[in-house]
């Protein structure tokens, strides 16, 4: 009993002494990380649209545009332009089709974009494509059609959509649209030279099976609890997202910066998680990287100030 009181008194004395002569103070700090891109030349940003694929459960183009716009609105200094989402895959297919229909068009000044070389290849692919892709709503057509004016008119183009994009290989066929300087410059002119955000989004379902290590509780004869690692064979399913963000100068149509990443999430095979919630779960991981390209990011932490 005496020893216990002595210990209590000693700890109280120690506490009093420590608080009386504190020589350090823990403070929260926010370390700013400067953006990767210098966007001071732009006051406005246009999230134009994405070439998306992987699954039909989520319209990754529309969802990504909505999400990025709302994030940019609240977490960047740029003014977000509200415009219809460009159905880029269809535009690329239409352009390719047009240039394939009139091979000489490639030499005309209207379609004279040196980087347009990949488009005829798309044309052959698109023409053989059997199922028409999901057509964009009629309301989205006017702004989408305007930029294509750079290419020769194709009245029959909307009749067939692009083939379904299921893998990164399928996406490659559409990449040439991002280097079409004239196309992006025209869009830039239309929206008063903003910073244009575009790119590709591949949102694909995943299914894996294999051994995983997880901690399992065990109780012995005396009821004592222990946690032991256990290797289990599990079937899991989920989704992977592979976005590639392309930042284009609306004044020149040139690509300023490209940022790509890949994230995946896996659940127990019995768990039924909607594709849309997985999409948002994955985009939560991607967004900081995206915002870090355009605006200052703050890393929260603590440091110790000394006297």
């Amino acid at each position: 009993m005496t020893a216990r009181s002595a210990a209590t008194i000693a700890s109280l004395v120690l506490l009093t002494l420590t608080s009386a002569c504190t020589n350090f103070f823990e403070v929260p700090i926010e370390t700013p990380l400067s953006p990767k891109m210098d966007v001071t030349a732009f006051r406005r940003v246009l999230v134009a649209g994405f070439i998306s694929g992987g699954t039909d459960d989520v319209d990754a183009n529309l969802e990504t545009v909505r999400l990025l716009r709302s994030q940019l609105r609240t977490k960047s200094g740029l003014r977000v332009i509200e415009a219809d989402v460009l159905p880029l895959a269809e535009l690329a297919a239409d352009k390719a089709k047009a240039s394939a229909a009139t091979p000489a068009a490639a030499a005309t000044p209207a379609a004279a974009t040196d980087n347009n070389g990949g488009l005829p290849k798309v044309a052959t692919d698109v023409q053989t494509a059997a199922p028409p892709g999901p057509a964009a709503p009629a309301s989205q057509q006017p702004p989408a059609q305007q930029p294509t004016a750079a290419a020769p008119a194709t009245p029959a183009a909307p009749a067939t959509g692009p083939e379904k994009i299921r893998s990164a290989k399928d996406l490659e066929k559409y990449q040439s649209i991002f280097s079409d300087v004239a196309f992006w410059k025209k869009i830039g002119e239309e929206y008063e030279n903003p910073l244009i955000v575009t790119g590709t989004i591949l949102f694909t379902p995943l299914q894996t099976a294999g051994f995983i290590t997880r901690n399992v509780e065990q109780y012995d004869n005396l009821g004592r609890r222990t946690v032991v690692p256990q290797r289990l064979y599990m079937e899991r399913k989920g989704f992977a997202i592979a976005p590639k963000f392309i930042f284009i100068d609306g004044r020149t149509g040139a690509t300023l910066h490209t940022e790509s990443t890949r994230e995946e999430v896996l659940y127990n095979a019995q768990q039924n998680t909607p594709a849309l919630s997985s999409y948002f779960e994955l985009m939560d991981k991607v967004i900081p990287m995206f915002l870090g390209t355009l605006s200052t990011q703050k890393i929260r932490g603590t440091r110790v100030l000394l006297r």
Partner: protein, 123 residues
């Protein structure tokens, strides 16, 4: 022999005198630096980091051997996004007080973020 002893005694007396005279000067520098550091801590705790940095700069200027001032300055610069200045300040603090675990911990955390920022820019 006597002369030599006399000279030695004189030198010792002069050194002692110099020490006594210099002590208040150093003590003044440290106490002035300490008051600046204390004020800096108070304002930093209230979120006024620019003022805090100014105070800690004054403290480090007044007493360049005061490790705490350099440590706090490193934190202040880090908060302001001045990574190069922060690195120099932390390095000075570590050099002045190499056994201080708290300074070392602050510096390590800073280095982690600084490396991440560098990797981002290099990509």
């Amino acid at each position: 022999m006597k002369m030599r002893a006399l000279l030695l005694a004189r030198a010792a007396a002069f050194a002692a005198l110099l020490g006594v005279a210099a002590q208040p000067v150093f003590a003044d520098a440290r106490s002035s630096a300490k008051s600046q550091v204390d004020f800096g801590i108070k304002v930093a705790q209230n979120g006024l980091w620019k003022e805090a940095v100014y105070r800690w700069e004054k403290a480090a200027e007044a007493d360049p051997t005061y490790a705490a001032a350099w440590n706090n300055l490193g934190i202040g610069y880090e908060h302001e996004g001045r990574f190069e200045d922060a690195r120099k300040a932390y390095e000075k603090a570590v050099a002045l007080d190499p056994k201080n675990v708290l300074i070392r911990q602050n510096y390590d955390l800073f280095k982690e973020i600084n490396d991440r920022a560098k990797r981002r820019n290099d990509r």
